[in-house]
Amino acid sequence: MSDETQIAVDVRDAVKRYGDFTALQRISLGIRDNEFFTLLGPSGCGKTTLLRMIAGFEDVTEGAIFLYGEEIEDLPPHQRPVNTVFQNYALFPHMTVTENVSFGLEMRGASKADARTRAGEMLELVQLTQFAARKPSQLSGGQQQRVALARALAPSPKVLLLDEPLSALDLKLRKAMQIELKHIQRETGITFIFVTHDQEEALTMSDRIAVMSAGEMQQLGDPRDIYETPRNMFVADFIGDTNLLDVSVEAISDGRATCKLSGGHRLTCDAVDGVNAGAKVHLSVRPERLFLSDQPTAAESLQGTVVENIFIGTDISTIVDVPGGQHFTVRTSNSDRGNKRILDPGTTAYVNMEPGAARLLVD
């Protein structure tokens, strides 16, 4: 109906200071109902602080937080209808799995029997039914993770907060849990706010991502936006691999910018707001959107020398030096070997760009 009902968590001008240190500088964002929302950034960027402010473990220095239209920033954690999956799970070691999962329900006044029934359902959801009577110390890391998830989901929170819940798991298990979490989110229809420093994880799972750095939000968008049209240097560099090129903007006309590389090459790309002619800025080009040839092909073709080929499983990464001190990383899919040639180190190569591959960045 109105916007209020669409927004699950509304953070308005939230500031967090610890003495002189500002951990979070005036963040405003609206997390939609039923969305898998990720706060992504390197450690110390303020993402966990923001999550803990929503949970109620940190107070808000300035600003306000609304949960489905209700102002919550002054409520203690136990009065907020949100639940958290903690980074190291924080399971209660003296209680069994079932007791852990039913704890929140009992605290909300459910009868012991009802709480047990619901806990059973939750354990079924995370496929831990046969471990119900065990203590957390008798479970593996992955199983403990599931208990933490079941415990947080059991009281049917309006919003589930997840603080790097997968960081302690090994790669294979982490990948499996990513998909499972996504499924559970769809199945339960609960709004998830997920904190991670792993950009791949964020891209895989999220409906929308807020990229954070140094206490500020750098970009907010869906995974494709964030990956393909990064707004600034930080986002381009933090999300995926990219070639960052120093350029000076020579002219802008008809929404196209002509940029000059330090070696004298010229490239054209879409102009962006905030970058004017004469500016010295950066271009970002994803390595998989470049291809190599031994003869110049497209208009945007730069001559250089192959330095190295690196085999990385699905892809081969080729490093090419171009005059002016720039070097490019070009990714060639391993399945394309027949079509796109792999050139030996030392040979002359042309780096070609797909149209629209280069993206101007606001610094």
Partner: protein, 308 residues
């Protein structure tokens, strides 16, 4: 390859096993010499005949235990009645020690919790402050306490000067004075083990409980206390057991009417007036009682662990 590694491992384990016996020898020696031997000696003494100038005559008898539990009149030929004198002293010792334990827990737990939740830099300082009284001899501290509490002492002077009371509070030579002495003497034994376990406690669990709608009080009761229970138990034992056998506080602060078991035993071995077998018998009764209490406690503990 794997087999070779396994053989190497078990050879190392063998070396370790044989070394372990030798390395444990000093501990065994200390245990036997200062714990086991004296206890055995007391056990034997308690069944011997008393020598009037202190010491024992090597003639086995149950006289000491008989004296402890039964009254046979002045000449020892009346039919035996239960002797209440010593049982009363024992009973007083138990409730004084129990009360001291409860008081120490009530004051000690918040203190320990407070210290354990300070920033890491300042914790050592707080622990140091708790141990400061231990830099002074217990006898001196107990005498000072008597000085503080006596009728014309600083405490009463202060209370009278503020007009809160008109006549001095008569505390010295009462059970209250003994209680204060015990509580004061053994409080750090409660604080330190509880501090150690609260410090290891993962406070994310408290956050998790709050997140799951538990109030602060419920969190303390259902999450914090079970997690730090080993420290609380250790603290209670460390206060209760020495309080039970204490003799300085009851002697100096309690006077003749508020005798505790420790003073009774001490009396039997001091000077020429004593009765060594009787002192040894009283010590054995005390030891047996403490052991029974600890065993009941341990059994209940195990039962609580076993039932989910």
């Amino acid at each position: 390859m794997a087999g070779g590694a396994a053989t190497g491992g078990s050879a190392a384990a063998d070396t370790y096993k044989s070394a372990r016996h030798w390395l444990l020898l000093p501990s065994w020696l200390v245990l036997v010499l200062v714990v086991l031997a004296p206890v055995c000696m007391m056990l034997i003494y308690s069944f011997l005949t008393k020598e009037f100038r202190g010491g024992v005559i090597w003639e086995p008898t149950l006289a000491a235990y008989d004296q402890f539990f039964f009254d046979r009149g002045l000449f020892g030929d009346d039919p035996p009645k239960i002797e209440w004198t010593y049982i009363t002293i024992f009973w007083r010792s138990i409730w004084q020690a129990g009360l001291a334990t409860i008081l120490s827990l009530i004051i000690g737990f918040p203190t320990a919790y407070f210290i354990a939740t300070r920033p890491e830099r300042t914790r050592a300082l707080w622990v140091f402050l708790v141990t400061i009284p231990y830099w002074v001899n217990l006898l001196i501290r107990t005498v000072s306490m008597k000085f503080l509490l006596r009728d014309q002492g600083p405490m009463n002077d202060f209370l009278i000067s503020t007009g809160l009371i008109d006549d001095p509070l008569r505390i010295v030579n009462t059970n209250l004075a003994v209680q204060l002495g015990l509580f004061y003497s053994y409080l750090p034994f409660m604080v330190l083990p509880i501090y150690a376990s609260v410090e290891r406690y993962n406070f994310a669990m408290s956050e998790a409980a709050a997140d799951l709608y538990a109030t602060k009080w419920t969190t303390l009761r259902r999450i914090v206390l079970p997690a730090v229970k080993p420290g609380v138990i250790a603290g209670c034992i460390l206060v209760f057991v020495p309080s039970l056998g204490a003799f300085l506080a009851p002697d100096l602060l309690g006077g003749a009417k508020n005798f505790m078991i420790g003073s009774l035993i001490e009396e039997q071995f001091k000077g020429n007036a004593g009765n060594w077998p009787f002192g040894a018998a009283a010590a054995m009764v005390l030891l047996t009682m403490v052991l029974i209490l600890l065993m009941i406690f341990a059994r209940q503990q195990r039962r609580a662990e076993a039932s989910p």
